[in-house]
Subunit: 189 residues, 2 copies
């Protein structure tokens, strides 16, 4: 089996694909698609998102210190891809995609109604890293649509039709099937 | 469509599942399975991983300021789950799983030979957040096995058999199929 050393690049896959909503100075909502996103803490629950300084959402979130992480379904893929390319500076992405904005409960940026899960976040730290700044947000409100909830509690992943991004291939992939519950081995592989 | 507001918890899915290797003071290698991991910067390429202070890997990485992110395949699922449960304090996880350690090029922690992709990282910042500390590491070496590379360059995701974790459901899911390349809409959904 041959190993090959390549020029370092972010080759961590699969990553989530999230739609992050924000509002600018005038209160206008915007959407940016991000794959540089992840959970960073459990108690309190926190998410980290990294944004290039040139993006329109960057200044909005830096100033307002609020954002919402919306999880899209596979049916939304074209809109998700488009929202990662065009700029909110000159495009109304809600008009572009036809998605509906719903008011959030604790922050100004809206929820995207077509998404099954929304996490309202307040920025706690902003860490400049080079090309991107890392925004660390505490989840202050979590919404899960009833139709994607399990009766026993928790999210019914199959009903969410989630997808992932694969850096290193520049591809979106959907999920296949559940292959195990966390802890199923009880520590014995 | 009913919305339901729940107690905030990290409900970002899918997340990657990574095997992070480290060495302790005595030079003994260890493995920890993490889902709180993500890309945080492109130039320079950086990865963020969050670890509870009680974990054995926490002190090792804090002291050595080095770790390797190894991407497992579905065939490794049982070992991956087990390495997230047992502690390196009293268990040799290479012996437990039967995986083979290979020397890295720029850092002390080993590569896990069974993984197709390895990223050697040097810690640049450690950010305490509550339950977890966030370690921000720069990727200083990237290895992709020849058998999971595309001839044209880049990673052949299908050959990696990657899988993801879904917080909110506590489930591991494999990937299904490629549903699009980044930028395929050219901004027109």
């Amino acid at each position: 089996m041959g190993h090959k050393r390549l020029t370092p690049s972010p080759t961590l896959f699969p990553t989530p694909v999230v739609l992050v909503t924000s509002v600018d100075d005038s209160g206008k909502p915007n959407i940016i698609t991000l794959a540089w996103a992840g959970v960073v803490n459990s108690e309190p629950p926190m998410i980290g998102i990294s944004i290039r300084r040139s993006r329109y959402s960057y200044a909005s979130i830096k100033k307002s210190r609020e954002f919402v992480v919306n999880l899209p379904s596979e049916e939304m893929l074209k809109g998700v891809d488009a929202c990662g390319i065009v700029s909110g500076k000159d495009t109304d992405k809600f008009a572009l995609t036809g998605w509906k904005a719903l008011p959030a409960q604790k922050v100004k940026p809206p929820l995207i109604d077509e998404c099954g899960v929304h996490m309202e976040c307040q920025v706690k730290q902003i860490i400049p890293l080079g090309s991107h700044d890392l925004f660390l947000g505490e989840i202050v409100a979590l919404h899960v649509k009833e139709e994607v909830q399990k009766k026993a509690g928790g999210v019914d992943i199959a009903k969410c039709h989630p997808f992932a991004y694969c850096p290193g291939a520049h591809e979106y992939w959907n999920l296949g099937r559940c292959i195990g519950d966390y802890g199923f081995t009880k520590g014995k592989p």
